[in-house]
Assembly symmetry: C2
Homo-oligomer: 448 residues x 2
């Protein structure tokens, strides 16, 4: 499979280089929507628009749904107005809401006005929920069943109304006033005796309110091995579902963001090869600048110790080694704790437990590295320098692990993305504080 | 929802501190399997074993399945032999295979021998596939249907045999010789007219061979918005399915590994708070040591320039700032490209395109940071030092972005995990090469 697709990509790349859009369009027409999207992403934006318009009508929508949000917005700009209106009408409500967030507000407003009443009524309430909340990412198209329905009747209902629903795998059970009383999965219904009532089949099921974060809802869906979670409003009335497909897409986006932020960049939100160079620069340069400016701190710290440096130039040789080790230790701790936070193994109020662990981890690693540093530096240079390097490594590792472990929790507590606040800043902090420790120890031992 | 669970965790922590296992056991019995597992993970391993044995029989298996692999292995060691045999028999084949990988081989062998013939026949072939391949992670329990079956008959088949299957949502379609001819989802079947034949309903569906990596198969499953992918052997005979639940678990593990490796640690494979301090040290110290030893390179580079340092001590002040900026630029590029590789946006043979992008991105950012550095250092110190700092920033950013972008692709090409090979090593490389560039420029401009 993988190889065949690799060949397709190679062929597409070749056709694009030859600008042979006709052959390219034939190639794309035979692919699955996911593969077709992958191939189109490799074209530049003008070619992509042409190729997209050449797609058979029934394939076009499926391919569109495979694109990242920002690519969808761009593509929309390249289509004819009436095509845009048709496309917008045909999108699922959750995809439509995502697109609205990508578009200039006047365009979005016009498109919303152009919707049929049914589709507008489905979409408008979702736009009332905050960005990042599950209310904005759910699907309002589900099949709800009444507790008195039998399994056979529910299957009939699925057969006759299933085509309009986002998923037929999760059937929320509601009373006469649309209040959720439970959920039944299609598996429950399909494996039950035909005359069992849904009321008897239903379980409490995974339920969330519309205000909670989409990421938490997604984790609940996947953690419960459930085909969907059910979303209710504050009065426990059913308003939507999040399917496992949507859940894993939400988590994938969250991972994307965490991975990017931990590496000190903003997520690109579109495929790397189709992102303009200046957009990549924009996603990185602010971070780089902030980090470089905070690194001026290290220049100032070193200025304080300039005369010690002038007296013993050898001290300068170890600066990158020591700050590097501190940075690595800190980012190890931060990575582990950030991840534990994301999957819910650790919560901000566990900070005492985390600190207690990281002090011990840091001190243990510091003792190991410090002994090694003492021996090596002691042999190559002299005993006193060995002592300085060894004790500095011990101190830096302990400090860095503790700070690295605490940072993500503090970030979460004050409402900042732990991935942002932790890894990139830990380096700078470790650099500056590590240098202070280093020269303090050097002063003590060498008397400079 | 979230708050209630937070309260539960708080109450559990309190009960654990009071060592009130009786009250604790009552608390756990009322929770969903996912929540119960989360609470048990917070106990130490002796308490966890006691609490687990106090669980009602029917809940115990569900809770066990929620634990991480390494915790499962540990827990098994704390159970009575006959309990272990019962549990092992009741596990799904894919969970069983995962457990076998965690256990000492003599224990695993004994357990496999103790299995009923049916379960052994399901499990043994999976153990023949390589670790990491989808053959080892699939489920061999599915409902296969014949093309001549009608939708109504297929629903009947689901009702009567569904309880034994891993998922009833994906029905592979096979001919008389068990060769796969297509797939039909339960949604297809449930929404079709009752007398439609499966042959007419079936689509080609997402199919993989057992040898491909579990991660690729999982991405295909989620990319195709399919309830499962179907796994075949080299003769296109049906041998298993990977459900979307399994797929997202496989991807979650892969993300875990990538996130950990990018931060220079090994993944813990169990919840942070229940991992012994020495295991955490073990997951980090090898990396830290390797990185520290390679950082000795920076000491040697600086030694070469020791007399320049002695002549102009001010040069030492900028070392952490410059190496830090190089490291940040490099890890930004590596993070983006590693992620693009993981999701399939970029392949190793795209290296020329990636390099061309990163050179431009790096040079643009270097020009911006370099101008700023020139002005600041020029004003605070003097024109010549400003020139050195400015040009060094330009050179370092360009170099670091290019190397950072290339590393993950080279790693992938030679079969190493891109996350391992890239981020941690890029810092060291950037540190050493950045220092060389710095002093070369300083020599040129300042003549030291």
């Amino acid at each position: 499979m993988q190889n065949t697709f690799d060949d397709t990509i190679a062929r597409a790349t070749e056709l694009l280089q030859r600008k042979d859009l006709a052959a390219m369009s034939e190639l794309v027409a035979d692919l699955s929507p996911a593969d077709a999207a992958r191939v189109l992403e490799r074209a530049d934006s003008a070619e992509r628009a042409v190729l997209y318009r050449l797609l058979p009508k029934d394939q076009a929508l499926d391919v569109f749904e495979q694109f990242d949000a920002s690519l969808r917005g761009e593509l929309l700009g390249a289509l004819r107005d009436d095509d845009v209106i048709t496309l917008f009408e045909e999108l699922d409500p959750d995809d439509r809401v995502e697109l609205v967030d990508e578009l200039p507000s006047n365009v979005a407003h016009r498109l919303m006005q152009g919707l049929s009443a049914t589709e507008r009524d489905l979409t408008a309430p979702m736009l009332g929920y905050a960005k990042g909340s599950v209310g904005r990412r759910m699907s309002p198209e589900y099949i709800r069943v009444h507790p008195s329905t039998t399994a056979a009747q529910a299957l009939h209902q699925v057969r006759t109304t299933g085509a309009d629903a986002e998923s037929v795998y999760m059937l929320p059970v509601t009373d006469d006033r649309r209040r959720l009383v439970g959920v039944a999965t299609l598996a429950d219904v399909a494996t039950a005796a035909p005359d069992t009532t849904i009321g008897d089949l239903a379980s409490a099921g995974p339920v969330v309110t519309a205000e909670i974060s989409a990421e938490d809802a997604a984790r609940m869906c996947l953690g419960n091995r459930s085909p969907a979670v059910v979303v209710v409003d504050s009065e426990h009335r059913l308003i939507g579902i999040v399917t496992i497909e949507q859940a894993s897409r939400i988590l994938e986006e969250a991972e994307d963001e965490d991975a990017a932020r931990a590496g000190g960049t903003e997520p690109l939100r579109r495929p790397y090869l189709s992102t303009p160079v200046l957009s990549i620069v924009r996603s990185r340069v602010v971070w780089l600048l902030v980090l470089a400016l905070s690194a001026i701190l290290t220049v100032q710290v070193l200025e304080i110790f300039e005369h010690a440096l002038a007296a013993v130039v050898t001290l300068a040789l170890f600066i990158p080694l020591l700050t590097g080790t501190g940075g690595n230790t800190g980012s190890q701790a931060a990575t582990t704790v950030t991840r534990a936070l994301a999957v819910g193994d650790v919560r901000p109020r566990d900070i005492a437990a985390v600190l207690f662990r990281e002090v011990r981890v840091g001190a243990t690693m510091g003792a190991m590295l410090g002994s090694l540093g003492f021996v090596i530096a002691g042999l190559v240079y002299d005993f006193h320098l060995g002592l300085v390097i060894g004790s500095t490594l011990l101190a830096i590792c302990t400090l860095a692990a503790t700070v690295g472990g605490a940072m993500p929790l503090i970030a979460k507590k004050i409402g900042v993305d732990p991935a942002v606040f932790s890894t990139p800043f830990i380096s700078t902090f470790c650099d500056a504080s590590g240098l202070i420790v280093y020269f303090a120890i050097a002063k003590l031992v060498l008397g400079v």
